[in-house]
C-alpha cells in the first residue's frame, strides 16, 4: 500500500480531508509535522489547503521555510510525487517548485463553489487516471486563487503542456478568481509536482462533496489520489 504523507502546518485546515482522500483511494496516509525535517520515508506528499500562518504575509511565504520543506524540496526535485492543494499550491510556488504566483481574487471576495475543470495534462503523477480533456467538478474555495505569471512563463507552460487543469468558463463568463488563461493548476516538467487551487480532496465521497445539481456523483477528485497510488505500484 502506498504511503502518502500529509503535512500539517500551523493553520492547515484540509489536512484531515487530504488524509481521508488518501485512505479512500486505497493508500496509507502518514501525518507529517511542519517542524520535523523528516518525510518518514513516504512515497508521495500532499501539501493541504488552509491558511498556514494565517496567510498574514503572502500565502505560503512563511510555510515554505518550515523544516519539513527542506527534505521535501530535495525529494521533489528528485522525483517524489508532490501535490499542493490551494494553500499547498501557494507553498509550492513560494518554494519555486512551480512557477508563478497566486494573488487575491479579482472580485476581492472569498469564493466557495462547485467548480467545473478540464484536465489538460493527463500524464502527470496525479492526473494520469483522467482522460486528457475530461471535465470534472470539484469544490473551489479561496480568497487568493488568481494564478499569475509573466507572459513568457505562461507561453512556456502552455507550450510544454504544463497547464495541468483549467477552469471551464461558460461562454461570455469569467473564471472564478481572475486566473491568467483560466489556469487552475500547473505541473513541473517531470510531472511529479502538481499544484492546483481547487480541492479534489473534497470530492472523494458521494454526499459530502459537490452538490448533485452539478450532475456529478461528487467523487471526481478521487482519481488524483488513486493516480499517484497506481503509479507507485507500477
Amino acid at each position: 500500500m502506498g504511503r502518502v504523507g500529509v503535512v500539517t502546518f500551523p493553520g492547515s485546515l484540509d489536512d484531515g480531508d487530504a488524509a481521508r482522500a488518501v485512505r479512500l483511494a486505497g493508500g496509507e496516509p502518514v501525518r507529517l509535522w511542519h517542524g520535523d525535517a523528516d518525510l518518514k520515508g513516504v512515497d508521495a506528499v500532499v501539501l493541504p489547503g488552509g491558511f498556514s500562518y494565517g496567510d498574514y504575509l503572502r500565502c505560503g511565504a512563511i510555510a515554505r521555510f518550515a523544516p519539513v520543506m527542506e527534505p521535501l524540496v530535495d525529494a521533489a526535485r528528485g522525483g517524489l510525487p508532490v501535490l499542493g492543494i490551494c494553500n499547498g499550491f501557494q507553498v509550492l510556488c513560494e518554494a519555486h517548485l512551480l512557477p508563478g504566483a497566486l494573488v487575491r481574487n479579482d472580485h476581492r471576495t472569498f469564493v466557495c463553489t462547485d467548480q467545473r475543470l478540464r484536465v489538460e495534462n493527463a500524464a502527470t503523477a496525479w492526473t494520469h487516471e483522467y482522460a486528457s480533456g475530461e471535465e470534472v467538478v470539484v469544490p473551489l474555495k479561496n480568497g487568493e486563487g488568481g494564478y499569475l505569471a509573466d507572459e513568457a512563463t505562461l507561453d512556456r507552460l502552455e507550450g510544454e503542456g504544463l497547464v495541468a487543469l483549467r477552469y471551464v468558463v461558460p461562454e461570455g463568463g469569467r473564471n472564478p478568481n481572475g486566473s491568467a488563461r483560466d489556469i487552475a493548476g500547473v505541473a513541473n516538467a517531470a510531472g511529479n509536482v502538481v499544484g492546483l487551487m481547487p480541492h479534489p480532496e473534497h470530492a472523494v465521497e458521494a454526499g459530502y462533496g459537490p452538490d448533485p445539481r452539478t450532475g456529478t456523483a461528487g467523487t471526481d477528485g478521487l482519481r488524483f489520489f488513486s493516480s499517484v497510488l497506481r503509479q507507485l505500484v507500477s
Partner: protein, 779 residues
C-alpha cells in the same frame, strides 16, 4: 458571554488620589476617595452594595471587576427573573439526553453511541455596527471558544444576520463588513458554515443583529467543565497576549444604546486573529487528549475578571493570581485595564502541578505563549496581586453570580391592541392568474426570500469533509461518526415581524419552524439554544415583549419536549429611539442515525407526487406577501399548533428513515408559493401544481393557498412506488396530506406550472431569485 468592547471610561489606577497603587490596604485606609463608578456603568445602589460586600470601598481594580461583571451583558440582571423559566419548565423527561444544561459555557446533549454534541448561539450585535468586519469576526471566535471550553472539537458554525433595509445607503457597509468578517474568521478556522439566516428590515438599520452559532463534538468521556478545584492546582493563561482592546466594553458597549452625541467608539472593538484561534483550538484539544488539564475556560466578555471569578466560584471558591505575570502586548497597561481587557484568542486552564511540565510541552509544540498566573486556593477569596501588593480581595461568587437582579417594570404596550386589529385580511388580493404570477415573482425577488448565495458562497462549507447538507436546504447536517453515519442537524429561525405582532407566539413560531426544519431533513429534534435580541429593558413595552417571548418559548419547549440548553440575551438593541422587533433566534439540534438518509429540499425525479402536509388557513398577517405587496405589518401572526408540529415532525422523521420521501421542504415565509419555487430551484427541476382541491378542502382562495404562512406545513416529494405506504402512514396518524402536484422535467424547458393560473420557467425564477443580493451588494 461574548459581547465585548471599548474603552471610554478608564478606571483610574490610582483610585483618584495621586500616583500610588490602589491596594486593598489603601482602600481600607482611604474610604472617602472619589471613584468613577458611575462612568463605569454602575448605579448608586450597585456601588453601595459593593461597599457592603467588601466592608470598605473597592479598590480601583475591584471596581473594574464588579463593573464589568455586573453589567447587563454579563450579569443578566434584567433578564434573569424571566430566564428562570427555562430551567423550571424543563421536565425530567426532557433531561433524558441532556448531559450539561444552562449555566455552563454551552449545553451538551447525548446523541448516542458514546457521542455528545454541544452547541450554542450568541450575539455580537453592537460591535458589528461599530466595526462590522471585526465585530462579526470576533463573534464567531467567541462562540467557538465556548464550545472548545467544554472539551469538544468545533465542527460547524452558522450565523444569523439581520441588517437594515437593503436599499439604505449604510446597509452595504455593514453587510460587506459582517459577511467578510464571518467568512474571514470561520474560513480561516477551518469550520464549515452550514446555514443561518439573512434578513433585511429597516428596524435593524442602526442596530444590525449578528448572532453566531457553533457546534462541537466529543466523546462522553471528553466532557470537561470549567472550574477551579484542587487547592494548589496551577492557574495558567495561554494564547494571545493581553492588550488594551475592549476595556470596559462589556459595561459600556453591550449595555447601552448608541448615542449619536457620544464619543467615537471605533478604535476599541477588538481585532480578531483567526490564525491564533486555529492554533489555540488544536492546542486545547491536544491538552485535553493528553489529560493534563482539569478544566479550561475561555476569555470573552469581561476577560480575566470573568474567567477568574467564574472559575473560582464554580470550584473550591478560592484563587490567587499574580496579575503582573500576564503577558502583555502593551507594557503600560494598569492592573485595572488588564482585568478588563477583552483581547481575543485567550484561554485559562487549571492544571495539577504534576502535569504542568507536560502542559508546557504541548503549548510549546504549538508555539502558544503561556504564563502561570497563580493557583487555586481554599480560602474562599479571589486574591489578585500586582508586584506583591494585594489589589483585589473579594468573594468570587459576589463578582460572578451575586450581581444585582432587577424586576424591571413591564406592561402590555398601549398600541398592541390597535396593531393586532389591523389585519392583512382586508388588503387587496390578486385575482387573475397574471396578477398572481407577477406577485409570485416580486416575492421571489424580494430581499428576504431571494437567493442568499451571494452571502453563503463566501463561506467554506466543505472543510472537514462531513457536511451533508447546508444552505439552502432546511437545516445544516454534519456527520459525526464516519463509521456509522451518525450525525446532527441544526436549524435556527426567528421572525421579528411575528414577534412584534405577538411576542409570545413569535417565540413559539421561531421554535416551531426550527423544530420543523430539523425534522424536515429527517432528524429527531433533541435540544434548543436561543439568542434573545430585544430593545432596552428600561422600556416597559420592551420588557413585556421579553417576558412574553421567554414564557412562550419555555412553554413551547415543554410541549415539544426539547430543553433549552443555553444561549444568550442581547438587550438595548434599537435604531434611534425605536426598539428592534423582538427577535428571539431559536436554534434546534436534531440527530440522524445515518446522515446518508437525510432529505434534501428539492426534487429530482420527474413523476414523483408532491404532497402538502398540514392545513392552510387565511393567515397573511405579518407575512412576506403583506410586506412586499403592501408594506403592511399588523394583525396576529399565524396560529401556533405545537401538537400538529410534533405529529408532523414524527411523520417526517419516520418517512425519511423508511425512504418514503425523496425531498421535503418546510413552508414558512412566502408560504406554499415560495416552497414550490425553492423546490424547483434546488436542482433545476420543474413542477406542476394544482390548487383547486386545496382551496376547496381548506376553504381558501388562491392567494391564501399560495402565500399564507400557516404553520405545521411541509411539502414532500414521494416516489410513485411509496405513495400508498406514505398516504397510509399519514391517514393512520391523522396527518392531513393532500396531493397538490407532480414533479416535472429538468433542463432548459423546466417550468413551474400552477395549473389554470400561470406558468413560470425555472430559469426566470432563478434570475429573479439570484439578482437581488448580487445587484445590491456587487459581483
Amino acid at each position: 458571554m461574548a459581547e465585548p468592547t471599548t474603552a471610554t471610561a478608564r478606571p483610574d489606577a490610582t483610585g483618584g488620589s495621586g500616583g500610588a497603587l490602589d491596594t486593598v490596604e489603601r482602600a481600607a485606609a482611604t474610604p472617602d476617595v472619589a471613584q468613577p463608578w458611575r462612568e463605569l456603568g454602575l448605579r448608586e445602589e450597585e456601588h453601595a452594595r459593593i461597599r457592603e460586600i467588601l466592608g470598605r470601598r473597592p479598590t480601583s481594580a475591584e471596581l473594574a471587576m464588579y463593573s464589568v461583571m455586573w453589567s447587563e451583558h454579563c450579569s443578566y440582571k434584567s433578564s434573569k427573573v424571566h430566564l428562570r423559566q427555562f430551567g423550571e419548565k424543563t421536565t425530567e423527561a426532557m433531561r433524558e439526553h441532556l448531559m450539561v444544561g444552562i449555566g455552563e459555557n454551552a449545553g451538551v446533549v447525548d446523541i448516542g453511541d458514546g457521542w455528545a454534541v454541544t452547541f450554542k448561539v450568541e450575539s455580537h450585535n453592537h460591535p458589528s455596527f461599530v466595526e462590522p468586519h471585526q465585530g462579526a469576526a470576533t463573534g464567531v471566535g467567541g462562540i467557538v471558544r465556548d464550545i472548545l471550553a467544554m472539551g469538544a472539537r468545533p465542527v460547524a458554525v452558522m450565523d444569523q444576520l439581520r441588517f437594515g433595509a437593503v436599499d439604505h445607503p449604510d446597509t452595504a457597509r455593514v453587510v460587506h463588513g459582517v459577511v467578510a468578517g464571518v467568512g474571514g474568521y470561520g474560513n480561516c478556522l477551518g469550520l464549515p458554515n452550514i446555514g443561518g439566516e439573512v434578513v433585511f428590515d429597516a428596524v435593524y438599520q442602526g442596530n444590525p443583529l449578528v448572532n453566531a452559532l457553533a457546534v462541537g463534538v466529543m466523546r462522553h468521556e471528553d466532557l470537561h467543565l470549567a472550574n477551579a478545584t484542587g487547592a494548589g492546582n496551577k492557574v495558567v493563561l495561554f494564547g494571545a497576549r493581553t492588550g488594551g482592546d475592549g476595556i470596559g466594553g462589556v459595561s459600556v458597549l453591550a449595555s447601552e444604546t448608541f448615542d449619536a452625541t457620544g464619543p467615537a467608539k471605533r478604535p476599541s472593538v477588538q481585532v480578531g486573529d483567526p490564525f491564533a484561534e486555529k492554533v489555540l483550538i488544536e492546542c486545547c484539544l491536544e491538552l485535553f487528549r493528553a489529560g493534563v488539564v482539569e478544566g479550561i475556560q475561555d476569555l470573552g466578555g469581561a476577560g480575566l475578571s470573568c474567567a477568574t471569578s467564574e472559575l473560582a466560584s464554580a470550584g473550591d471558591g478560592g484563587m490567587h493570581v499574580e496579575l503582573d505575570r500576564v503577558l502583555l502586548r502593551d507594557p503600560s497597561l494598569s492592573p485595572e485595564e488588564i482585568l478588563m481587557s477583552e483581547s481575543q484568542e485567550r484561554m485559562m486552564a487549571v492544571v495539577r502541578p504534576e502535569h504542568l511540565e507536560r502542559f508546557l510541552e504541548v503549548v510549546r509544540r504549538w508555539d502558544v505563549e503561556t504564563s502561570v498566573l497563580g493557583e487555586v486556593t481554599d480560602t474562599g477569596r479571589l486574591v489578585v496581586t500586582w508586584h506583591g501588593e494585594v489589589v483585589v480581595d473579594v468573594p468570587p461568587r459576589t463578582v460572578a453570580h451575586d450581581g444585582p437582579v432587577y424586576e424591571r417594570p413591564y406592561a402590555r404596550p398601549s398600541w398592541q391592541d390597535a396593531l393586532q386589529a389591523d389585519s392583512a385580511a382586508a388588503l387587496a388580493r390578486p385575482t387573475s392568474g397574471e396578477d398572481l404570477r407577477a406577485t409570485l415573482l416580486r416575492l421571489v425577488g424580494s430581499p428576504n426570500l431571494a437567493d442568499k448565495g451571494w452571502v453563503t458562497d463566501q463561506y467554506d462549507r466543505y472543510v472537514l469533509g462531513n457536511t451533508a447538507l447546508a444552505t439552502p436546504d432546511d437545516a445544516g447536517v454534519v456527520r459525526v461518526d464516519e463509521a456509522t453515519g451518525l450525525g446532527v442537524a441544526v436549524s435556527t429561525d426567528a421572525n421579528g415581524r411575528y414577534g412584534y405582532l405577538d411576542p409570545y407566539a413569535g417565540a413559539q413560531l421561531a421554535l416551531a419552524e426550527a423544530y420543523r426544519n430539523v425534522a424536515t431533513v429527517g432528524a429527531r429534534p433533541l435540544a434548543v439554544t436561543d439568542c434573545l435580541n430585544f430593545g432596552s429593558p428600561e422600556d416597559p413595552d420592551v420588557m413585556w415583549q421579553f417576558s412574553e417571548a421567554v414564557t412562550g418559548l419555555a412553554d413551547a419547549c415543554q410541549v415539544l419536549g426539547v430543553p433549552v440548553t443555553g444561549g444568550n440575551v442581547s438587550l438595548y438593541n434599537s435604531t434611534a429611539d425605536t426598539p428592534i422587533h423582538p427577535t428571539p433566534v431559536v436554534g434546534v439540534l436534531g440527530v440522524l442515525d445515518d446522515v446518508a438518509r437525510r432529505t434534501p429540499s428539492g426534487w429530482r425525479a420527474p413523476g414523483q407526487a408532491l404532497y402538502l402536509l398540514g392545513t392552510t388557513r387565511l393567515e397573511l398577517d405579518g407575512s412576506a406577501w403583506a410586506e412586499v405587496e403592501h408594506g403592511h405589518l399588523g394583525g396576529r401572526p399565524p396560529a401556533v399548533d405545537l401538537e400538529a408540529e410534533r405529529l408532523l415532525g414524527d411523520v417526517l422523521v419516520n418517512a425519511s428513515r423508511d425512504g418514503l420521501v425523496d425531498a421535503a421542504h418546510d413552508l414558512s415565509e412566502g408560504g406554499l408559493a415560495q416552497a414550490v419555487v425553492e423546490g424547483c430551484l434546488r436542482y433545476g427541476v420543474g413542477a406542476r401544481v394544482w390548487l383547486d382541491e386545496l382551496c376547496e378542502r381548506d376553504g381558501v382562495d388562491a392567494t391564501t393557498a399560495l402565500f399564507s404562512e400557516s404553520t405545521a406545513r411541509v411539502l414532500v416529494s414521494v416516489p410513485r412506488s411509496e405513495e400508498v405506504r406514505f398516504t397510509d402512514v399519514c391517514s393512520a396518524r391523522r396527518q392531513p396530506a393532500l396531493r397538490v402536484g407532480v414533479v416535472d422535467e429538468p433542463g432548459e424547458a423546466a417550468a413551474l406550472d400552477v395549473q389554470g393560473l400561470f406558468t413560470v420557467p425555472v430559469a426566470e425564477l432563478r434570475a429573479a431569485s439570484t439578482a437581488t443580493l448580487r445587484e445590491a451588494f456587487g459581483a
